[in-house]
Symmetry: C2
Subunit: 246 residues, 2 copies
Protein backbone atom coordinates (compact mmCIF):
# COMPACT_ATOMS: atom_id res chain seq x y z
CA UNK A 1 0.00 0.00 0.00
CA UNK A 2 1.13 3.55 -0.65
CA UNK A 3 0.20 6.76 1.10
CA UNK A 4 -0.32 9.88 -0.98
CA UNK A 5 -0.94 13.52 -0.27
CA UNK A 6 -4.34 14.02 1.38
CA UNK A 7 -5.74 16.24 -1.30
CA UNK A 8 -8.86 17.30 0.59
CA UNK A 9 -6.51 19.21 2.91
CA UNK A 10 -4.92 21.15 0.04
CA UNK A 11 -6.21 24.57 -1.03
CA UNK A 12 -5.01 26.69 -3.95
CA UNK A 13 -4.82 30.34 -2.85
CA UNK A 14 -4.61 32.87 -5.68
CA UNK A 15 -3.43 36.22 -4.45
CA UNK A 16 -4.85 39.07 -6.56
CA UNK A 17 -5.16 37.28 -9.89
CA UNK A 18 -5.55 39.76 -12.75
CA UNK A 19 -7.32 37.68 -15.39
CA UNK A 20 -10.64 36.00 -14.53
CA UNK A 21 -10.03 33.31 -17.14
CA UNK A 22 -7.06 32.12 -15.13
CA UNK A 23 -9.31 31.40 -12.15
CA UNK A 24 -11.33 29.07 -14.37
CA UNK A 25 -8.22 27.41 -15.78
CA UNK A 26 -6.89 26.95 -12.27
CA UNK A 27 -10.17 25.37 -11.13
CA UNK A 28 -10.05 22.92 -14.01
CA UNK A 29 -6.48 21.78 -13.61
CA UNK A 30 -6.72 21.61 -9.82
CA UNK A 31 -9.73 19.33 -10.18
CA UNK A 32 -7.87 17.26 -12.79
CA UNK A 33 -5.44 16.48 -10.01
CA UNK A 34 -7.99 15.97 -7.23
CA UNK A 35 -7.61 19.37 -5.55
CA UNK A 36 -11.05 20.92 -5.24
CA UNK A 37 -10.57 23.96 -3.00
CA UNK A 38 -9.64 27.35 -4.42
CA UNK A 39 -9.46 30.70 -2.63
CA UNK A 40 -9.12 34.11 -4.27
CA UNK A 41 -7.70 37.14 -2.47
CA UNK A 42 -8.42 40.61 -3.84
CA UNK A 43 -11.37 42.12 -5.61
CA UNK A 44 -14.01 39.43 -6.18
CA UNK A 45 -13.69 37.88 -9.62
CA UNK A 46 -15.82 39.60 -12.22
CA UNK A 47 -16.65 38.09 -15.60
CA UNK A 48 -18.06 34.87 -14.23
CA UNK A 49 -18.89 33.73 -17.74
CA UNK A 50 -15.24 33.73 -18.74
CA UNK A 51 -14.26 31.91 -15.56
CA UNK A 52 -16.81 29.17 -16.20
CA UNK A 53 -15.81 28.87 -19.84
CA UNK A 54 -12.20 28.18 -18.89
CA UNK A 55 -13.21 25.87 -16.06
CA UNK A 56 -15.42 23.87 -18.43
CA UNK A 57 -18.55 22.17 -17.19
CA UNK A 58 -16.51 19.60 -15.29
CA UNK A 59 -15.02 22.08 -12.83
CA UNK A 60 -18.02 24.37 -12.42
CA UNK A 61 -18.47 23.04 -8.88
CA UNK A 62 -14.94 24.13 -7.96
CA UNK A 63 -15.71 27.62 -9.27
CA UNK A 64 -18.95 27.70 -7.26
CA UNK A 65 -16.98 26.76 -4.17
CA UNK A 66 -14.31 29.48 -4.56
CA UNK A 67 -13.97 31.48 -1.35
CA UNK A 68 -13.03 35.15 -1.64
CA UNK A 69 -11.11 37.33 0.82
CA UNK A 70 -10.05 40.94 0.94
CA UNK A 71 -6.92 40.31 2.91
CA UNK A 72 -4.22 37.68 2.45
CA UNK A 73 -3.54 37.29 6.17
CA UNK A 74 -7.23 36.68 6.78
CA UNK A 75 -7.42 34.14 3.97
CA UNK A 76 -4.48 32.21 5.34
CA UNK A 77 -5.39 32.41 9.02
CA UNK A 78 -6.89 28.92 9.21
CA UNK A 79 -4.01 27.09 7.54
CA UNK A 80 -1.29 25.12 9.28
CA UNK A 81 1.20 25.24 6.43
CA UNK A 82 1.68 27.67 3.57
CA UNK A 83 3.88 26.97 0.54
CA UNK A 84 4.46 29.99 -1.69
CA UNK A 85 5.41 29.82 -5.34
CA UNK A 86 8.06 32.16 -6.62
CA UNK A 87 10.31 32.39 -9.62
CA UNK A 88 12.71 34.67 -7.82
CA UNK A 89 15.55 33.00 -6.00
CA UNK A 90 18.09 34.44 -3.64
CA UNK A 91 18.51 37.83 -2.01
CA UNK A 92 16.92 37.75 1.41
CA UNK A 93 15.02 34.65 0.39
CA UNK A 94 15.46 31.12 1.56
CA UNK A 95 16.67 28.23 -0.54
CA UNK A 96 13.62 27.11 -2.45
CA UNK A 97 12.09 23.66 -2.83
CA UNK A 98 11.66 21.82 -6.10
CA UNK A 99 7.97 20.99 -6.76
CA UNK A 100 8.80 17.31 -6.27
CA UNK A 101 10.40 18.03 -2.89
CA UNK A 102 7.36 19.99 -1.80
CA UNK A 103 5.06 17.13 -2.85
CA UNK A 104 7.17 14.63 -0.90
CA UNK A 105 7.01 16.87 2.15
CA UNK A 106 3.24 17.22 1.86
CA UNK A 107 2.62 13.46 1.98
CA UNK A 108 3.07 13.49 5.75
CA UNK A 109 2.18 17.13 6.46
CA UNK A 110 -1.18 16.95 4.68
CA UNK A 111 -2.42 14.01 6.74
CA UNK A 112 -3.69 16.27 9.49
CA UNK A 113 -2.79 19.81 8.50
CA UNK A 114 -4.56 22.28 6.27
CA UNK A 115 -2.11 23.27 3.52
CA UNK A 116 -2.27 26.37 1.30
CA UNK A 117 -0.45 26.56 -2.02
CA UNK A 118 -0.06 30.30 -2.51
CA UNK A 119 0.35 31.92 -5.95
CA UNK A 120 0.96 35.61 -6.60
CA UNK A 121 -0.47 37.74 -9.41
CA UNK A 122 0.44 36.91 -13.02
CA UNK A 123 2.79 39.84 -13.54
CA UNK A 124 4.92 40.22 -10.44
CA UNK A 125 4.30 37.21 -8.23
CA UNK A 126 4.41 37.34 -4.46
CA UNK A 127 6.02 40.32 -2.73
CA UNK A 128 8.45 39.98 0.14
CA UNK A 129 5.69 41.17 2.42
CA UNK A 130 3.41 38.35 1.26
CA UNK A 131 6.14 35.74 1.44
CA UNK A 132 6.41 36.30 5.18
CA UNK A 133 3.40 34.00 5.63
CA UNK A 134 5.11 31.06 3.92
CA UNK A 135 6.65 28.09 5.67
CA UNK A 136 8.40 27.16 2.46
CA UNK A 137 8.94 28.55 -0.99
CA UNK A 138 8.83 26.46 -4.10
CA UNK A 139 10.31 27.35 -7.48
CA UNK A 140 9.34 25.56 -10.67
CA UNK A 141 12.48 24.96 -12.73
CA UNK A 142 12.43 26.52 -16.20
CA UNK A 143 14.65 27.10 -19.18
CA UNK A 144 16.68 30.31 -18.98
CA UNK A 145 15.14 31.61 -22.20
CA UNK A 146 11.58 31.74 -20.84
CA UNK A 147 11.11 31.88 -17.10
CA UNK A 148 7.61 33.35 -16.93
CA UNK A 149 5.08 30.54 -16.46
CA UNK A 150 1.36 31.10 -16.93
CA UNK A 151 -0.45 31.06 -13.58
CA UNK A 152 -2.64 28.03 -14.31
CA UNK A 153 0.32 26.10 -15.72
CA UNK A 154 2.24 26.73 -12.51
CA UNK A 155 -0.76 25.49 -10.53
CA UNK A 156 -0.95 22.43 -12.79
CA UNK A 157 2.67 21.46 -12.18
CA UNK A 158 2.33 21.68 -8.40
CA UNK A 159 -0.99 19.82 -8.38
CA UNK A 160 0.38 17.16 -10.72
CA UNK A 161 3.38 16.55 -8.47
CA UNK A 162 1.04 16.36 -5.49
CA UNK A 163 -1.22 13.94 -7.33
CA UNK A 164 1.54 11.52 -8.24
CA UNK A 165 3.51 11.73 -4.97
CA UNK A 166 3.35 8.70 -2.76
CA UNK A 167 5.43 6.56 -0.48
CA UNK A 168 5.18 3.10 1.00
CA UNK A 169 2.87 2.99 3.98
CA UNK A 170 4.55 3.10 7.38
CA UNK A 171 3.85 4.43 10.83
CA UNK A 172 4.38 8.19 10.82
CA UNK A 173 3.93 10.85 13.42
CA UNK A 174 2.36 13.76 11.58
CA UNK A 175 2.27 16.66 13.96
CA UNK A 176 -0.48 19.25 13.99
CA UNK A 177 1.13 22.57 13.20
CA UNK A 178 0.02 25.93 14.55
CA UNK A 179 -2.45 27.80 12.36
CA UNK A 180 -1.51 31.05 10.68
CA UNK A 181 -3.83 32.83 13.11
CA UNK A 182 -1.84 31.49 16.04
CA UNK A 183 1.44 32.34 14.35
CA UNK A 184 0.40 35.89 13.47
CA UNK A 185 -0.75 36.46 17.04
CA UNK A 186 2.65 35.31 18.23
CA UNK A 187 4.53 37.49 15.74
CA UNK A 188 2.48 40.48 16.75
CA UNK A 189 3.34 39.84 20.38
CA UNK A 190 7.03 39.36 19.61
CA UNK A 191 7.06 42.57 17.59
CA UNK A 192 5.40 44.49 20.42
CA UNK A 193 7.88 43.18 22.94
CA UNK A 194 10.96 43.77 20.81
CA UNK A 195 9.79 47.26 19.94
CA UNK A 196 9.29 47.99 23.57
CA UNK A 197 12.83 46.89 24.46
CA UNK A 198 14.31 48.81 21.50
CA UNK A 199 15.51 45.84 19.46
CA UNK A 200 13.08 46.97 16.82
CA UNK A 201 12.67 50.59 15.75
CA UNK A 202 10.18 51.95 13.23
CA UNK A 203 13.05 52.13 10.67
CA UNK A 204 14.02 48.50 10.85
CA UNK A 205 10.77 46.75 11.82
CA UNK A 206 10.28 44.86 8.56
CA UNK A 207 13.87 43.74 8.30
CA UNK A 208 14.15 42.50 11.86
CA UNK A 209 10.73 40.83 11.83
CA UNK A 210 11.50 39.14 8.51
CA UNK A 211 14.58 37.54 10.03
CA UNK A 212 12.57 36.28 12.99
CA UNK A 213 9.77 35.00 10.77
CA UNK A 214 12.22 33.24 8.50
CA UNK A 215 13.74 31.40 11.39
CA UNK A 216 10.49 30.47 13.10
CA UNK A 217 8.69 29.38 9.95
CA UNK A 218 11.50 26.99 9.11
CA UNK A 219 10.98 25.37 12.50
CA UNK A 220 7.34 24.51 11.70
CA UNK A 221 5.93 25.35 15.11
CA UNK A 222 3.21 23.33 16.82
CA UNK A 223 0.29 25.09 18.54
CA UNK A 224 1.72 24.04 21.87
CA UNK A 225 5.06 25.68 21.06
CA UNK A 226 3.37 28.88 19.96
CA UNK A 227 1.66 29.02 23.33
CA UNK A 228 5.03 28.55 25.04
CA UNK A 229 6.62 31.36 23.01
CA UNK A 230 3.70 33.65 23.77
CA UNK A 231 3.93 32.77 27.45
CA UNK A 232 7.59 33.73 27.45
CA UNK A 233 6.82 37.01 25.68
CA UNK A 234 4.05 37.81 28.11
CA UNK A 235 6.34 37.15 31.03
CA UNK A 236 9.10 39.32 29.55
CA UNK A 237 6.63 42.03 28.78
CA UNK A 238 5.32 41.98 32.34
CA UNK A 239 8.84 42.04 33.68
CA UNK A 240 9.86 44.98 31.48
CA UNK A 241 6.76 46.83 32.57
CA UNK A 242 7.54 46.21 36.24
CA UNK A 243 11.17 47.27 35.92
CA UNK A 244 10.15 50.38 34.10
CA UNK A 245 7.93 51.39 36.94
CA UNK A 246 10.62 51.01 39.58
CA UNK B 1 27.43 14.97 -14.09
CA UNK B 2 23.93 14.12 -15.21
CA UNK B 3 22.54 13.58 -18.67
CA UNK B 4 19.10 14.96 -19.49
CA UNK B 5 16.75 14.75 -22.41
CA UNK B 6 18.22 16.47 -25.47
CA UNK B 7 15.46 19.00 -25.85
CA UNK B 8 16.53 20.29 -29.26
CA UNK B 9 15.50 16.87 -30.61
CA UNK B 10 11.97 17.13 -29.19
CA UNK B 11 9.05 18.52 -31.19
CA UNK B 12 5.49 19.10 -30.03
CA UNK B 13 3.07 17.99 -32.76
CA UNK B 14 -0.50 19.27 -32.40
CA UNK B 15 -2.90 17.30 -34.54
CA UNK B 16 -5.85 19.46 -35.65
CA UNK B 17 -6.05 21.81 -32.67
CA UNK B 18 -9.41 23.60 -32.58
CA UNK B 19 -8.58 26.75 -30.62
CA UNK B 20 -5.82 29.06 -31.89
CA UNK B 21 -5.19 30.34 -28.36
CA UNK B 22 -4.08 26.86 -27.36
CA UNK B 23 -1.29 26.98 -29.94
CA UNK B 24 0.04 30.11 -28.24
CA UNK B 25 -0.28 28.58 -24.77
CA UNK B 26 1.53 25.48 -25.98
CA UNK B 27 4.35 27.58 -27.46
CA UNK B 28 4.78 29.38 -24.16
CA UNK B 29 4.86 26.36 -21.90
CA UNK B 30 7.02 24.33 -24.26
CA UNK B 31 9.55 27.17 -24.25
CA UNK B 32 9.30 27.38 -20.44
CA UNK B 33 10.66 23.85 -20.46
CA UNK B 34 13.27 24.30 -23.19
CA UNK B 35 11.30 22.73 -26.05
CA UNK B 36 11.24 25.19 -28.93
CA UNK B 37 9.82 23.22 -31.86
CA UNK B 38 6.09 23.03 -32.51
CA UNK B 39 4.27 21.57 -35.50
CA UNK B 40 0.58 21.96 -36.33
CA UNK B 41 -1.34 19.51 -38.50
CA UNK B 42 -4.63 20.59 -40.07
CA UNK B 43 -5.88 23.87 -41.40
CA UNK B 44 -3.25 26.56 -40.82
CA UNK B 45 -3.89 28.46 -37.60
CA UNK B 46 -5.99 31.56 -38.11
CA UNK B 47 -6.26 34.34 -35.53
CA UNK B 48 -2.56 34.95 -35.21
CA UNK B 49 -3.22 37.78 -32.79
CA UNK B 50 -4.82 35.42 -30.28
CA UNK B 51 -2.00 32.91 -30.69
CA UNK B 52 0.62 35.58 -29.98
CA UNK B 53 -1.31 36.94 -27.03
CA UNK B 54 -1.33 33.54 -25.34
CA UNK B 55 2.29 32.88 -26.26
CA UNK B 56 3.32 36.23 -24.75
CA UNK B 57 6.26 38.15 -26.14
CA UNK B 58 8.68 35.60 -24.73
CA UNK B 59 7.54 32.74 -26.94
CA UNK B 60 6.80 34.72 -30.11
CA UNK B 61 9.83 33.12 -31.74
CA UNK B 62 8.40 29.64 -31.14
CA UNK B 63 5.15 30.75 -32.79
CA UNK B 64 7.09 32.15 -35.75
CA UNK B 65 8.86 28.83 -36.10
CA UNK B 66 5.70 26.69 -36.07
CA UNK B 67 5.65 24.35 -39.09
CA UNK B 68 2.26 23.46 -40.59
CA UNK B 69 1.24 20.30 -42.42
CA UNK B 70 -1.92 19.05 -44.09
CA UNK B 71 -1.31 15.44 -43.32
CA UNK B 72 -0.24 13.75 -40.08
CA UNK B 73 1.79 11.04 -41.82
CA UNK B 74 3.69 13.71 -43.73
CA UNK B 75 4.33 15.74 -40.57
CA UNK B 76 5.72 12.70 -38.76
CA UNK B 77 7.74 11.25 -41.62
CA UNK B 78 11.08 12.65 -40.48
CA UNK B 79 10.84 11.48 -36.86
CA UNK B 80 12.50 8.43 -35.37
CA UNK B 81 10.20 8.09 -32.39
CA UNK B 82 6.62 9.21 -31.80
CA UNK B 83 4.95 9.27 -28.38
CA UNK B 84 1.21 9.87 -28.50
CA UNK B 85 -0.84 11.27 -25.64
CA UNK B 86 -4.17 9.71 -24.86
CA UNK B 87 -6.57 9.64 -21.97
CA UNK B 88 -8.20 6.44 -23.19
CA UNK B 89 -6.73 3.23 -21.91
CA UNK B 90 -7.42 -0.33 -22.91
CA UNK B 91 -9.37 -1.92 -25.74
CA UNK B 92 -7.04 -2.67 -28.59
CA UNK B 93 -4.55 -0.26 -27.10
CA UNK B 94 -1.25 -1.01 -25.50
CA UNK B 95 -0.39 -0.49 -21.86
CA UNK B 96 0.41 3.20 -21.58
CA UNK B 97 3.42 4.95 -20.11
CA UNK B 98 3.33 7.38 -17.21
CA UNK B 99 4.75 10.79 -18.21
CA UNK B 100 7.70 10.14 -15.90
CA UNK B 101 8.42 6.81 -17.58
CA UNK B 102 8.31 8.45 -21.00
CA UNK B 103 10.73 11.15 -19.85
CA UNK B 104 13.11 8.52 -18.50
CA UNK B 105 12.97 6.65 -21.79
CA UNK B 106 13.65 9.82 -23.76
CA UNK B 107 16.91 10.55 -21.92
CA UNK B 108 18.71 7.98 -24.05
CA UNK B 109 16.44 7.98 -27.09
CA UNK B 110 16.64 11.75 -27.62
CA UNK B 111 20.42 11.78 -27.80
CA UNK B 112 20.42 10.98 -31.50
CA UNK B 113 16.80 10.54 -32.50
CA UNK B 114 14.19 13.08 -33.50
CA UNK B 115 11.25 12.66 -31.13
CA UNK B 116 7.65 13.83 -31.66
CA UNK B 117 5.22 14.31 -28.78
CA UNK B 118 1.86 13.96 -30.48
CA UNK B 119 -1.33 15.51 -29.11
CA UNK B 120 -4.82 15.10 -30.58
CA UNK B 121 -7.56 17.72 -30.83
CA UNK B 122 -9.05 19.18 -27.64
CA UNK B 123 -12.36 17.35 -27.82
CA UNK B 124 -11.68 13.78 -28.88
CA UNK B 125 -7.95 13.22 -28.78
CA UNK B 126 -6.11 10.91 -31.15
CA UNK B 127 -8.08 8.34 -33.16
CA UNK B 128 -7.03 4.72 -33.48
CA UNK B 129 -5.98 5.49 -37.02
CA UNK B 130 -3.65 8.26 -35.81
CA UNK B 131 -2.27 6.17 -32.98
CA UNK B 132 -0.84 3.70 -35.46
CA UNK B 133 2.11 6.06 -35.93
CA UNK B 134 3.07 5.96 -32.26
CA UNK B 135 5.89 3.93 -30.80
CA UNK B 136 4.46 4.50 -27.35
CA UNK B 137 1.39 5.98 -25.75
CA UNK B 138 1.47 8.09 -22.64
CA UNK B 139 -1.43 8.81 -20.31
CA UNK B 140 -1.37 11.62 -17.77
CA UNK B 141 -2.88 10.35 -14.52
CA UNK B 142 -5.90 12.33 -13.31
CA UNK B 143 -8.57 12.26 -10.66
CA UNK B 144 -11.64 10.25 -11.62
CA UNK B 145 -13.89 13.27 -11.18
CA UNK B 146 -12.24 15.31 -13.94
CA UNK B 147 -10.28 13.45 -16.58
CA UNK B 148 -10.33 16.04 -19.37
CA UNK B 149 -7.09 18.04 -19.32
CA UNK B 150 -6.68 21.25 -21.29
CA UNK B 151 -4.37 20.73 -24.28
CA UNK B 152 -1.68 23.17 -23.17
CA UNK B 153 -1.73 21.77 -19.62
CA UNK B 154 -1.13 18.29 -20.99
CA UNK B 155 1.78 19.65 -23.04
CA UNK B 156 3.11 21.38 -19.93
CA UNK B 157 3.13 18.20 -17.86
CA UNK B 158 5.01 16.23 -20.50
CA UNK B 159 7.49 19.04 -21.14
CA UNK B 160 8.03 19.55 -17.41
CA UNK B 161 8.78 15.86 -16.89
CA UNK B 162 11.17 15.99 -19.84
CA UNK B 163 12.83 19.10 -18.43
CA UNK B 164 13.49 17.62 -15.01
CA UNK B 165 14.41 14.10 -16.15
CA UNK B 166 18.05 13.18 -15.77
CA UNK B 167 20.32 10.34 -14.88
CA UNK B 168 23.93 9.97 -13.85
CA UNK B 169 26.27 10.05 -16.83
CA UNK B 170 27.41 6.68 -18.13
CA UNK B 171 28.35 5.13 -21.41
CA UNK B 172 25.20 4.39 -23.36
CA UNK B 173 24.58 3.02 -26.79
CA UNK B 174 21.74 5.10 -28.16
CA UNK B 175 20.68 3.52 -31.42
CA UNK B 176 19.43 5.49 -34.37
CA UNK B 177 15.90 4.35 -35.00
CA UNK B 178 14.25 4.16 -38.40
CA UNK B 179 12.32 7.28 -39.42
CA UNK B 180 8.56 7.20 -39.82
CA UNK B 181 9.09 7.47 -43.58
CA UNK B 182 11.12 4.29 -43.58
CA UNK B 183 8.60 2.55 -41.34
CA UNK B 184 5.60 3.56 -43.43
CA UNK B 185 7.35 2.34 -46.57
CA UNK B 186 7.91 -0.97 -44.85
CA UNK B 187 4.32 -1.25 -43.62
CA UNK B 188 3.03 -0.48 -47.10
CA UNK B 189 5.20 -3.22 -48.51
CA UNK B 190 4.11 -5.72 -45.83
CA UNK B 191 0.48 -4.85 -46.45
CA UNK B 192 0.92 -5.36 -50.20
CA UNK B 193 2.55 -8.70 -49.70
CA UNK B 194 0.07 -9.99 -47.14
CA UNK B 195 -2.84 -8.87 -49.28
CA UNK B 196 -1.37 -10.66 -52.21
CA UNK B 197 -1.06 -13.92 -50.26
CA UNK B 198 -4.57 -13.59 -48.83
CA UNK B 199 -3.60 -13.06 -45.17
CA UNK B 200 -5.20 -9.65 -45.45
CA UNK B 201 -8.53 -9.06 -47.15
CA UNK B 202 -10.25 -5.71 -47.68
CA UNK B 203 -12.55 -6.51 -44.74
CA UNK B 204 -9.81 -7.06 -42.19
CA UNK B 205 -6.97 -4.84 -43.45
CA UNK B 206 -7.03 -2.35 -40.59
CA UNK B 207 -7.30 -4.96 -37.88
CA UNK B 208 -4.51 -7.18 -39.20
CA UNK B 209 -2.21 -4.24 -39.98
CA UNK B 210 -2.81 -2.74 -36.54
CA UNK B 211 -1.63 -5.94 -34.92
CA UNK B 212 1.50 -5.97 -37.04
CA UNK B 213 2.17 -2.30 -36.39
CA UNK B 214 1.68 -2.76 -32.68
CA UNK B 215 4.23 -5.51 -32.55
CA UNK B 216 6.83 -3.82 -34.76
CA UNK B 217 6.57 -0.42 -33.10
CA UNK B 218 7.24 -1.97 -29.71
CA UNK B 219 10.46 -3.40 -31.11
CA UNK B 220 11.78 0.08 -32.00
CA UNK B 221 13.30 -0.88 -35.34
CA UNK B 222 16.59 0.50 -36.62
CA UNK B 223 16.93 1.67 -40.24
CA UNK B 224 19.11 -1.34 -40.91
CA UNK B 225 16.40 -3.69 -39.66
CA UNK B 226 13.75 -1.98 -41.75
CA UNK B 227 15.91 -2.63 -44.79
CA UNK B 228 16.21 -6.29 -43.83
CA UNK B 229 12.42 -6.64 -43.41
CA UNK B 230 11.85 -4.95 -46.74
CA UNK B 231 14.41 -7.20 -48.38
CA UNK B 232 12.58 -10.24 -47.04
CA UNK B 233 9.25 -8.89 -48.28
CA UNK B 234 10.71 -8.15 -51.70
CA UNK B 235 12.09 -11.64 -51.93
CA UNK B 236 8.77 -13.20 -50.86
CA UNK B 237 6.91 -11.02 -53.30
CA UNK B 238 9.20 -12.03 -56.11
CA UNK B 239 8.85 -15.69 -55.19
CA UNK B 240 5.05 -15.47 -55.06
CA UNK B 241 5.01 -13.78 -58.41
CA UNK B 242 7.21 -16.46 -59.90
CA UNK B 243 5.14 -19.27 -58.47
CA UNK B 244 1.97 -17.66 -59.70
CA UNK B 245 3.37 -17.51 -63.17
CA UNK B 246 4.29 -21.18 -63.23
Amino acid sequence: MTVGVRKENITIVLNKPKYPGNIGSVARCAKNMGVEKVMVVGSPPADRENILRMATHGAADVVDGVRCFDDLGEALSGFNYVAGTTSRVGRARRPNLHPRELAAELIDLSQNNEVALLFGPEDFGLTNDEIKYCHSLVTIPTAEAMKSINLSHAVMILCYEIFVAGRAEREVFTPKLATLRELEGMYGQIQGLLTRVGFISPENTDHRMMNIRRFLSRVKLYSREVRVVRGVCRQLDWYCGRNKKT
